[in-house]
Subunit: 128 residues, 2 copies
DNA sequence: TTTAATATTGATAATGATTATCATTTGCCC
DNA sequence: GGGCAAATGATAATCATTATCAATATTAAA
């Protein structure tokens, strides 16, 4: 179960194109522009399948899910509320503290998500 | 702007009833059961207004927003993927590290959300 | 207090992301 | 080479949330 079909490879290629955080619609549009249109339902299923295979990663924002290429080390995200830009950061110390919290609660962590919302550097300095 | 109408006070009362994390529909149902039905659109707007006034707090889960009563200290959440239970925890050290990350990126934090997904104590020990 | 401006309510329609349905196609195993 | 399991794609359905809008309530001003 969960095959890497030609459609899913095309989706994977698109996501690996850049370090953008793609939503399903953007992936579908990019595929259309590459003259390889894929049905939107297939895009959704393909993204879910690729994430399950560990070939891409996902973050859940308030309104929609976004996908990015898989990276070696786990990271979390800064989300600019002005321009929508998403930056990444690693902080192993935070991960360690999360484990401590979990232990205190008898909780077994399987996944986590840390989002920092605010204003990014370029929006703060008024750049375009 | 943003008045504390009788409807909004009723919504606030419901949320202050317990330390549950309510979604809009549950609040509307609770109000109906108390013989004080309030239109669902008004419930949504009321919850948003109360959160803006700082009288309640919200967390954004994958599918929906949930509201809880306001607490003195900021806290984050453990979400059990088996039973759906939501626990809270405080870890000021994590908050401090978030600020350090932000400074490193020239980012100004306005809000944040940390969710730990996994299996809670009682689900792990097989309780009911 | 009347009047005017403003915000709220509630029923319902609209939106938007995502999932379900289902007939058709593809790929693989024996 | 037929059959089973999974995938595809068009489209309908779902579900939380927001928009619309007429009716009502509240506040401020005259």
């Amino acid at each position: 179960m969960q095959k890497l079909t030609t459609q899913r490879q095309a989706i994977l290629d698109v996501i690996n194109l850049s370090d953008k955080h793609w939503d399903a619609d953007e992936v579908a549009t990019a595929l259309k522009e590459r003259n390889n249109p894929i049905g939107i339902a297939t895009v959704y299923r393909g993204l879910a399948a690729l994430a399950e295979l560990g070939l891409i990663e996902s973050i859940q924002l308030a309104d929609k899910k976004r996908y990015e290429r898989a990276s070696k080390d786990h990271h979390d995200h800064l989300v600019c509320q002005v321009c929508g830009m998403i930056e990444e950061f690693c902080k192993t110390e935070i991960e360690r503290l999360q484990e401590i919290v979990a232990r205190e609660h008898g909780f077994e962590i399987q996944d986590h998500q840390l989002l920092l919302f605010g204003i990014c550097k370029s929006c703060k300095t008024g750049e375009k």
